[in-house]
Amino acid sequence: MARDLAIDLGTANTLVYKQGEGIIMNEPTVIAKNRRTNEVLATGREAWDMIGRTPSFIVAVRPLRGGAITDFETTEQMIRLLLKRAGVSRFARPKVLICVPSAITEVERRAVTEATRRAGAADAQLLEQPMAAAIGADLPIEEPAGNMVVDIGGGTTETAVISLGGIVTLRAERVGGFTMDEAIQGWVRKEHGLAIGERTAEEIKVQIGSALASNADRSAEVKGRDLITGLPKTIVLTAAEIREALDDVVTQMIDSVKECLAMTPPELAQDLLTSGIYLVGGGALLRGFADRLQYETKVSVRMSPQPLEAVVLGAGHCIENYQALRGMFMDARR
């Protein structure tokens, strides 16, 4: 019998959990295609290495942007390949649970479900990422008390307050790790007249990006193309510069959390003072973000020990207890 699958279809990374086995795949959500023949050349890490380095007829694209599906056909191809690599065939048709951003539209929801069924799944269900993250982070969400989860993904920042196994308030903003990369690209272009690619911008963010000043601030050498001469050029960027470049994005993320706190019923808001805010998602790894969030919201902030895997682990728990937890899936609540 086919083992059921849980997929965290993130803007940045896609993770797959197989029933009884755990996480079997963790790769960037990128697909490389031949534009002339529409043939898929590579997915995941292999396709990620091709970004910005392909000839004109090969495109390495991210089918999801800002938590939204920008290319349905490519998303379907990607899901099909993922399921194939996870062992789905005509005779082994598992149930598949896909974690999606809560800001997903009805059209996108149908597209993902249909694509998954067409790719060979016996049943396809969707679950909001913050809910899965709360389960994956091992929060006591079955209790009648408020638990706040902030999931900062590649394309979205989602904040949810969960009590008695259900989402009470939810706030999603289309800003995330990629918005930070774009902000860095824009800053370097504007202040230094240097064009850099998205991979370089991400490397800068990981190396010296921060949300708060600290004694560990460093600088980094960056190579790019001079916009005036068109020649390759190297500059040195400081952590303070990158902090300034990221400030608008970080402020937007924190404002979104504040708005969710404002929408929370008073009884649960009171609980949050004790239980605090739980941070998950790759964007939460930005240095000083947790401290700045704590400073601005006046609520204690805890970071998940595995922020990148929390969502898929939670979804994995849902497929291990499919019948009991299927009331949590998006379709069941409509």
Binding site: G136, P305, E309, Q323, A324
Partner: protein, 80 residues
């Protein structure tokens, strides 16, 4: 002898048909048994909600904790 041959042939054809029918019936029954356990059923109110909360309880999430430990250990090995 000449009258026995058609009788034998008819008997063997009939037994083959019966064997095919019984195999397909057994396969259909096995398929129904397997798929029945996997079929999604309608949500039935309070009982379903209790099961839902039980499935989210600490005891039920023991294997999830194990997974978290495994992921953490794997990361520690990767980043010594």
């Amino acid at each position: 002898m000449s009258t026995m041959l058609p009788m034998l042939a008819a008997t063997s054809v009939a037994s083959l048909v019966f064997a095919a029918i019984s195999i397909s019936a057994a396969a259909t029954l096995a398929y129904l048994v397997v798929t029945d356990g996997r079929r999604t059923r309608p949500v039935d109110g309070a009982a379903q909600f209790r099961r839902h909360l039980d499935a989210l309880s600490d005891d039920s999430r023991e294997h999830l904790r194990k997974q978290i430990r495994v992921v953490r250990e794997q990361r520690q090995v990767k980043q010594p």
